[in-house]
Amino acid sequence: MRLELREVSKAFPGVAAIDRLSLVVGAGRIGCLLGPSGSGKSTVLRTIAGFERPDAGEVLAGGELLSGRGTWVPPERRRIGMVFQDFALFPHLDALSNVAFGLHAMERDGRRQRALEMLGLVGLAAEAGRFPHELSGGQQQRVALARALAPRPRIVLLDEPFSNLDADVRTELAQQVRAALIAERATALLVTHDQREAFAIADEIGVLRSGRLEQWDVPWQLYHSPATRFVADFIGEGTFIEGTVLGPGRVSTELGVIEGQLTTEQPPGTHVDLLLRPDDVIHDDASELRAEVVERAFRGAQFRYKLRLPSGTTALSFAPSHHDHAIGERIGIRLDAQHLVGFPRG
């Protein structure tokens, strides 16, 4: 069901954890709040779940008011499932009983059947009789998801669901979680500080900073047309170079005049900081433009070079791994920007 937050604020002594936050996750969509630690992501989830009482604003699920305007629905009556960072599996119950825990309104047979169905959905039907401590971290995570989904909640919340897991299982697990959410036609909101997780699982992503939403968009847009400097910095890698707007789609920089579509049109003469993604800076031995290698990191298929431009500004560049250059070497580069992202300097 559709999840909606309207101007929700929540302050803890000394800090505002959430500041007039509004967002909508459409029914059956998977949303994600992305932000550094301390940005208030978890507080947003806990507010939606009902573990925190917001100071102001409204929370709605499927059009029903859960909190705000004098209404307060306690967490146990919200029908909002949650997957916790530490999974919070009940240690005294096996996997099946954990999943069946929230089905107390159903009769015995139905309960068992639904719990088995959910364990099957996350690929753990064979582990039904195992206790939490007998399961791997990834398996516990999937049991926690099955438990949250079993009572057919209106919305499922996932709090840093992969942060307690090894890096090599995260991506695969994220795909499984996405598949399970889609199979259940669940509306979900997860929070994470890891953009790869966010990209792997979410339809739409909101970038949160100090309790405020900087941008809510599909992943491609966040990367290629960040709305704020913070989003540009936070999502993907990149550096800024100074430039001056010459006219529509033309910016003059120390690397020459760059042509492309500016995401937000600026009047000629405006001084801007132009975002350079590593994939915008192409290594080209034939190019006149030269930059000095100051850092190099071998990444298997490619090198990630940190380059110093003539003005002293740094830029990042990915180069195929057979282009092996030493630190201090001056290499040729050219720019290949499809669209320009520039923020007025000030």
Binding site: G50, F51, P75, I80, M82, F90, P91, G102, H104
Partner: protein
């Protein structure tokens, strides 16, 4: 947390749980300060100097010997390898099952002039053979130390096992041999644990009533008993009780100082067992001999003596009266265990959902009893309930005792003394329930009450069992509160032991003692089972 269930109810309940303890303490202080100058002068002249000197010598002697025994045995079983080490590491806890008063009368019966051991020695070596008198300060200290060293042993062993291995290896890499490592690293590191163990020993010694009674060694507890049952002066008893509390407070302060700024750090499991220091040949057998002697004196020999005597008198003594003793003992222990458990759950739940100054203070007061000697609590209970009875009589008329001398008074004393015993495991159980589990349960649609019944209680299971068992056994062994507040005719096994030993009928005291020791083995077995499991997990 704003959305948490109501905090007011649990906080009020916590205060209610603390009220009895508060009433008892107030009664002691009020009664004692109300004593007149003449009584005070009499006490000072005839009683205090002897009782104070006796108590001080006893506590210092017992703590010194128990600390030496406990620490050395813990080091041997935790960090050394010698014949029988695995067996002794748990067997040395068994003396915990023998109450000091049982050990005391067994020692007096066998080692006194007419006892079996001196008689045998004289028959071998002639009548002039000197046997040190057991009924002496030294004998009293030895018996109490033998009964209480397991507290130090348990704490020290935990400390040595926790960081003994790694720290000793570090010391060795810096050029310290294993024995230098013991005194320069392991013991200083274990200081908070050793101080904690020594403080427990001091508390037990200050609280002891039964053993010093057997030895006729006057301390505060026996003086309180005599003041009341001999002189019928509750004021004197209350005054002595208050003074004893001062000593308890001093012991607690001493522990704080001894512990220093060090803190107990949680024993982290998964530390691999240390490469133990092998004691070859004669040194290994010397360690064996030492451990075997302590084990024999503290448990095996007393147990054999009890079993023999009990067997001898069982045919005559074991009659329908015993059914009564046993039923009353089990009934009281059961009721006290249930009461303590229920109240501990209230306190634990309150701390969980309404943590704050109020709840914390209430918990602190409610669980003070474990540091307060039973004799003090007994006179406090009698005095507090007597005051309430007086109020009742002025309102309702009549001459009856409504509360004083009832089972309620007895239970009140037990709860005041042993609530802390139940509180520990229950609180530990609550602490292991992560807050996210409660939130998960609520997000799955459980109400506050269902969270308690479907989450808290099942997860507390083991902690609840432990708490009930510990209180149950402690009440079975308890002597001064039972003796001083029981309703007429409510004789328990411990009361029977007291009465038989008072008359020097050692054999007849053995039968109830044996029952108490067997019950006392249960928590020790639980403890050793836990230790083994922790050792296997590491």
């Amino acid at each position: 947390m704003a959305a948490a269930p109501s905090r007011l109810g649990p906080a009020v309940a916590a205060i209610a749980v603390a009220l009895p303890m508060l009433a008892v303490l107030v009664a002691v202080v009020q009664g004692a300060t109300g004593a007149d100058a003449e009584l005070w002068a009499h006490l000072r002249e005839h009683v205090l100097s002897r009782v104070v000197a006796n108590t001080l010598i006893l506590v210092l002697g017992v703590v010194a010997i128990a600390a030496t025994l406990g620490t050395s045995l813990a080091w041997l079983t935790a960090a050394c390898e010698f014949p029988g080490r695995a067996f002794f590491s748990w067997a040395l806890l068994l003396p915990m099952a023998v109450p000091a008063y049982v050990l005391a009368f067994v020692a007096v019966a066998t080692l006194d002039y007419a006892g079996a051991v001196p008689t045998t020695l004289r028959s071998w070596f002639g009548d002039g053979f000197p046997v040190p008198p057991i009924r002496s300060t030294g004998g009293t200290i030895a018996v109490l130390a033998l009964a209480s060293y397991p507290y130090v042993y348990l704490m020290a062993r935990g400390a040595f096992l926790t960081h003994g291995a790694r720290v000793l290896e570090a010391a060795q890499s810096l050029g310290l041999g294993p024995w230098a490592g013991l005194f320069r690293v392991a013991v200083p590191l274990a200081r908070p644990w050793l101080a904690g163990g020594a403080a427990l020993v001091a508390m037990e010694t200050l609280a002891d009533f039964g053993a010093v009674s057997v030895f006729n060694y006057d301390t505060f507890t026996t003086a309180i008993y005599k003041a009341w049952f001999g002189l019928f002066s509750i004021e004197t008893a209350l005054l002595l009780a208050l003074l004893l509390l001062v000593f308890v407070a001093l012991a607690l302060v001493a522990e704080r100082i001894a512990r220093g700024r060090a803190r107990f750090s949680a024993a982290d499991s998964g530390v691999r067992a240390a490469e133990r220091l092998a004691l070859p040949g004669a040194r290994g057998w010397a360690a064996f001999g030492y451990a075997a002697t302590v084990f024999a004196l503290g448990f095996v020999l007393p147990a054999i003596a009890l079993a023999r005597w009990a067997w001898d008198v069982a045919a005559i003594d074991l009659d329908s009266h015993y059914v009564g003793y046993i039923l009353r003992t089990l009934g009281l222990a059961g009721m006290a265990a249930l009461a303590c458990l229920g109240l501990a759950l209230v306190l634990g739940y309150a701390s969980r959902v309404a943590d704050g100054v109020v709840t914390r203070t209430a918990s602190r007061i409610a669980t003070l009893g474990y540091a307060i000697p039973g004799a003090v609590l007994a006179v406090g209970v009698v005095s507090a309930l007597g005051a309430i009875d007086l109020r009742f009589r002025t309102i309702a008329g009549g001459e009856g005792l409504w509360l004083q001398g009832t089972v309620f008074a007895l239970l009140l004393g037990y709860v005041a003394r042993f609530l802390a015993v139940a509180h520990g495991p229950v609180l530990g159980g609550f602490a292991r329930i992560r807050p996210s589990l409660e939130e998960a349960a609520r997000s799955l649609g459980l109400s506050t009450r269902e969270v308690v019944s479907r989450l808290h209680l099942p997860l507390l299971g083991a902690g609840i069992g432990t708490a009930a068992l510990l209180v149950f056994v402690d009440v079975m062994k308890e002597m001064p509160i039972t003796l001083m507040t029981r309703p007429f005719g409510w004789d328990t096994l411990a009361v029977r032991v007291f009465e038989m030993t008072a008359e020097g009928e050692w054999e007849r005291a053995a039968l109830p003692s044996l029952a108490i020791v067997v019950a006392g083995l249960l928590p020790v077995a639980l403890l050793t089972w836990r230790m083994e499991r922790a050792a296997r997990a590491a």
